[in-house]
Symmetry: C2
């Protein structure tokens, strides 16, 4: 029960000006004499006046709010990414509102409906795989939206992100280049993420004679990485390298290996994906793939705002990822 607060009318009264003039000042203050302007600003401060966003939105049909729907925010690249989007939007007076989909298309649809109902003007989605009704909804209402964390120039909406397939492929080549011929691949639920599927396709593409690839699906958290690694260590001949589609999984792998008394990278190499802020701190430091989360956030934010403000068309952008060589991968040494 917030108490009533200064309105534009009060400021007008206090300055002896009209509400129209006050409004002008509040919006950039073009066509207002410096004098008037100062008077208004002073009164605003004095009355602690803040324009009512609902009234403003109603009047302009602009909420200056963009929505991002992400699979999760815990332990992940998304935290960094979200911070970057927020930063980018804030620069131009936009706000970001977030929803979590848990990687579920229906949840994503429901969240989008809610956010639309909240007045979001544009949407940032993760990946290119979405509920058909969502796309219909966006199309029907002409809601601008982009796919992120993925690069797929032919997708239904502009994609702004990195090429997951190529990156995974590059990692595989890096591993095989280090002499690994038996590699376990740990990944999260394929059904929940097309980014995961892309990475899988990339890893798969590296397949060739004399290369053994074992794919293991697990839950996308440290426990998942640990359990999967533990399981794979049971098998008769263990891989010389474990490639994880997320640093979080890799962390779990590291723990499992440590518990099993195996040394990294001497006994088995581990490679991650994401380059989270702690990835260089693990023991040993994790070799992984850096993802341009910050640049992606900036690009997404800028494109959407330019489109909303000036009608600039949205377009796909490919951002580069890169292998970060650290200590968890070593050339395979000839063993017994």
């Amino acid at each position: 029960m917030t108490r009533p607060v200064g309105k534009i009318r009060d400021v007008a009264k206090a300055t002896g000006l009209s509400i129209a003039t006050v409004s002008r000042v509040m919006n950039g203050g073009k066509n207002v004499s410096p004098n008037t302007r100062d008077k208004v600003l002073a009164a605003c401060k004095q009355l602690n006046y803040l324009p009512n966003p609902a009234a403003r939105a109603l009047s302009t049909s602009r909420s200056k709010t963009v929505a991002a729907i992400i699979p999760t925010i815990e332990h992940s690249i998304f935290a960094k990414y979200i911070a970057s989007i927020e930063h980018s939007l804030a620069q131009r007076g936009y706000s970001l509102v977030i929803a979590i989909s848990h990687g579920d298309l229906d949840e994503e649809l429901a969240a989008a409906q809610k956010l639309l109902g909240m007045g979001a003007e544009a949407f940032i989605l993760s990946g290119a795989d979405h509920h058909p009704d969502l796309l219909d909804l966006f199309t029907q209402r002409g809601v601008p939206h982009v796919y992120s964390s993925i690069w797929q120039p032919a997708s239904a909406a502009p994609s702004i992100g990195y090429d997951n397939t190529a990156l995974a492929r590059a990692a595989m080549d890096y591993l095989t280049g280090h002499g690994h011929h038996h590699i376990a691949v740990l990944h999260g639920p394929l059904t929940e993420s097309d980014r995961t599927r892309d990475r899988q396709a990339g890893a798969q593409a590296a397949q060739r004679d004399g290369l053994t690839l074992d794919f293991h699906e697990t839950s996308l958290d440290v426990a998942g990485g640990k359990a999967a690694t533990r399981a794979l260590l049971q098998s008769a001949n263990r891989p010389s390298a474990i490639f994880c589609f997320s640093d979080v999984l890799a962390l779990g792998a590291l723990f499992a290996l440590s518990e099993a008394g195996l040394r990294v990278p001497e006994d088995v190499s581990v490679m991650g994906f994401d380059n989270l802020d702690w990835s260089g701190e693990t023991a040993p430091a994790l070799t992984t793939i850096n993802l341009p989360a910050t640049r992606m956030g900036a690009e997404v934010g800028t494109q959407l705002m330019d489109h909303l403000d000036n009608g600039t068309p949205l377009g796909p952008v490919r951002l580069d990822g890169a292998i970060v060589e650290r200590a968890s991968v070593a050339p395979v040494t000839r063993r017994g």
Copy 2:
């Protein structure tokens, strides 16, 4: 440039009813015949109608939005907490909007002003230490707000959280109870968080003859915990236990210890604080303090909504934390 979309008037026209009736249906639909109700709902679906939130907010002076300002969302207890608040609010049609303060009082103030400007009706703050202007602002405008992640019955606003001091004290007692007489305490920047200061006070309170306590301030991330541990390992006589005010710090400590070739808990015990989702997965599994993040989120959300909806007064609530015994702490063995 979102295209124009169905308004309440269109639904009214389509059903041959008045906009008032449509409005009634859209808001719980009391005093409406089931028949009419169905007709309206059908028309809404058919026209893909969604009430305009700005218009609704303007008309009711209710945005049904609450704001949470947290220090960070990466690697932390806050991710879980935020998810819980969101969940709780969503149940009753409220939305959560988040801002990050980076532990800075000025940033927090700025964020609050922005969120207020966005129409937030109530605020969730972390800790009890805030910019005086923030409190003035809230008081002046009568904005409901609570302090969370802390329990301090005498604070300016109701605090809903756990007793950081007592919990840290309990952890110290646990450690000394295991025979540790030289304990290093790792914590984040004291100036940035009164929760950290409370924990420090609690640890301090365990001080007594024959107990050596070394406090080390570091950055609140894995790198910080690792660096601090590395540094403290340099000194002539090293502690038998390291108590970290965050599991993130403890993870760093674990890595540093591992690199130094020291075994946990045989050579040195490590205790954390937070019980993050991966804390039971580390090698060895981390003994830590569980924080009721989920319950806290629910309590905060419920209190705020009850207050906003029915004027129920806000009040402080103490939630319990508890030591989670795992494998990283062992009784100190008589050495050389």
